[in-house]
Symmetry: C2
Subunit: 418 residues, 2 copies
């Protein structure tokens, strides 16, 4: 079973929006064991959409088209899909009623152009999930028994996702029924370069290649760390799970304690889980990150079990007045130690992390951009270190977040003797 | 002049990384007035890469390939490009020396597999910019005079960007020399839905269609607001600039004061500029956003001219102890007003924004997810409002950030009588 993804929208080609939909759909297809060999993005242009849809259908059993189902004049996916199917459009009174109901439910009047969204190619069926006002479509192509299929879903991510989860993926799984199970596990690491990891794992990769086992791949992901993905194929879930577990153990033995998490775990969730397990509360004192450590921690639902809050001391006076930083340079060991102690004291927390540095682009207090002091406080003992990142403002901030949280993670692990 | 973008990497298809490179390159091509009709992503697979490169070259004058230039075994872009060119690879001693120099400069030993990165297809030239250890390539295809060209650049964003800016885009501009100038201007708005904006602008779009003027397009962008893009084409920069200025004025007249910025301006930069212009300092008190308002503000270089800091009071005790929130529910008008006042007092700031609410997924204090109280304090006067967002945790946090900053923006504008 092969499925391609075609994203529609001139704004994608012009770089005014990043295509996160194809990526998300790719992940879901991989989980479902469905091969996806290509993603394509085309503009809102009838002729080029036609060519892209037809080419994708020639290479695949199924095609998922995102975007171009909105109410505005440049949204022409419905028309182009009808042309690919060789049929006309008809207005669906059930969808008309549903769209009208949604607008009146929010006390708003329906703009007339929204009615275009109720036009359906003859022979296609509307997808029952409809979180917005654009209905998705299941469009059989050619022979209806065993033939190919095109799914048209909106470009709005949460509308697209609801339709994929409710209708498209179950339908694809039914069609792919007899195929093998493919699963991946991602080991998340911090503290080693991509080429260094590849070097240390080269023998294992050669062994897997020779024996036809699972595959390994590497992916540098900024604030998300460096990922090692293990992918295995097998007859059923149990077989694949056993292969993944075995390979994970081998990789962990080879790379050592730089693995901080698995799959959807990230540095924040791992640190929060460890804090909760040890009954500790956390505070942060941030300067160059401006609140990013707190933002990342509170991205995790349930962060309130351990996270008390943050002092973002961007201004030097705030560092001195609220956190007790001594007079002198604010990018220094003395400053970051005082910030870590101040965070625990002011926010009544058991442990803390603190960062102060130069995000750039300009130097500050004679320190060059990328210079960062970091500290962790655990059981009243502060440890501090200086790092010089060779990166721009954005990456310097991201790497500061994961580096200081990893330092805390390691201290928490040794605290409970792990 | 037409140029396509092909992104290489199985991790893109599997959804383990979002392809931000194609989007960024698309934006740069549009600015350079070069048409881009398609983006493609393929996996690290020789046969499928070959097909994708050849198809893109058939449709275009130039192709930019990102990814697959790394040191690991699955990086085969060099080999596939050589096959498309019909030539072999040769190791470039200058690049070998350069890669070795970079490793020794960071005091690290070079893994042997990094040397593969010095292999260059015969007839191709290395791109002089080399921020990492992967050299980019300029590869002439077919007739070297007026023929087509393939650029291979790394998938690491900052390496790719340095090569595009230093070599690829100037080379493309030279080749496209005689073509028309295409420029866009983006008006950034907040406070109206996409279909509502389309409705109010429908007559103007019809007029532009009929008269063959510039085009208008809409784009909902979460925390970045809702964008209205004006695109114009003309013989030279002056002509296009005049058309864009004229159309911007028309659109502003039609949509009114919901336009908060233009092009690269965002809500944070606009608010910071206004604060600096009025000589005011800003502090934030954040609960459900966990520091995200501070993070966004400090994404802007030079934020320190106005931003003093933030109190992230995630825990109720912190709200009461540090910010003076009274006993009682913390998702309430009384709480958010105290937070806004507390932020100004504790951080010695002239103005502040404060937010407290339920990000979800679970209800809190009997309030359902999406319920948010927001406040702004200007000249000691606090204004508060309640919003109920029908979104998930992530979008609720994003919309909270832009909504409260827009409220502050409007108060600052009326403060100086604009």
């Amino acid at each position: 079973m092969r499925c391609e993804v075609v994203a529609v929208g001139t704004e994608l080609l012009l770089g005014q929006i990043v295509d996160t939909n194809s990526s998300w759909i790719g992940g879901q297809l991989a989980l479902a064991g469905i091969d996806c060999h290509r993603h394509t993005a085309v503009g809102d242009n009838r002729e080029r959409m036609l060519v892209a849809f037809r080419e994708a259908l020639e290479r695949s059993d199924a095609v998922i088209v995102t975007g171009g189902l909105g109410p505005t004049q440049d949204d022409i996916t419905r028309e182009v899909v009808a042309e690919v199917m060789g049929v006309g459009l008809e207005r669906d009174p059930g969808i008309v009623a549903e769209i009208e109901r949604r607008f009146s439910g929010r006390g708003r009047q329906m703009p007339a152009n929204n009615l275009r969204q109720a036009d359906v190619p003859v022979g296609a069926t509307a997808i029952p999930e409809m979180p917005g006002t654009a209905p998705g479509l299941v469009c059989p192509i050619g022979d209806p028994v065993g033939g190919r299929v095109l799914y048209a879903v909106p470009g709005v991510p949460w509308e697209m996702q609801a339709m994929l989860e409710g209708t498209v993926l179950p339908d694809l799984r039914r069609r792919a029924d007899s195929e093998a199970v493919i699963r991946s596990r991602v080991l998340r690491t911090w503290g080693r370069s991509e080429s260094g990891l590849a070097e240390v794992l080269a023998d294992e990769i050669d062994r897997l290649d020779a024996e036809g086992g699972p595959t390994l791949a590497f992916l540098a992901s900024g604030m998300e760390g460096l990922k090692v993905r293990i992918t295995a194929k097998g007859a059923d879930e149990d077989e694949v799970a056993a292969v993944l577990a075995d390979e994970e153990e081998r990789v962990r033995e080879i790379v050592g304690p730089i693995v901080f998490g698995v799959d959807d775990q990230n540095m924040e969730s791992v640190v929060l889980d460890e804090l909760v397990a040890q009954g500790l509360t956390l505070a942060t004192a941030e300067s160059l990150t401006g609140g990013m450590i707190g933002t990342r921690l509170t991205d995790v639902p349930g962060a309130s079990r351990a996270f008390r809050g943050a002092i973002v001391a961007y201004d030097g006076d705030v560092k001195r007045g609220l956190l007790g930083v001594p007079e002198g340079p604010v990018v220094s060991e003395a400053a970051v130690v005082a910030m870590a102690e101040g965070a625990c004291r002011v926010l009544c927390a058991d442990v803390s992390v603190a960062v102060t540095g130069v995000a750039g682009p300009d130097p500050q207090d004679g320190e060059k951009p990328g210079t960062v002091w970091m500290a962790t406080s655990v059981d009243g003992v502060v440890e501090a270190a200086k790092v010089e990142f060779p990166f721009d403002r954005s990456l310097t901030r991201q790497f500061t977040v994961i580096t200081v949280l990893d330092a805390l993670r390691r201290r928490l692990l040794s605290r409970r003797g792990a």
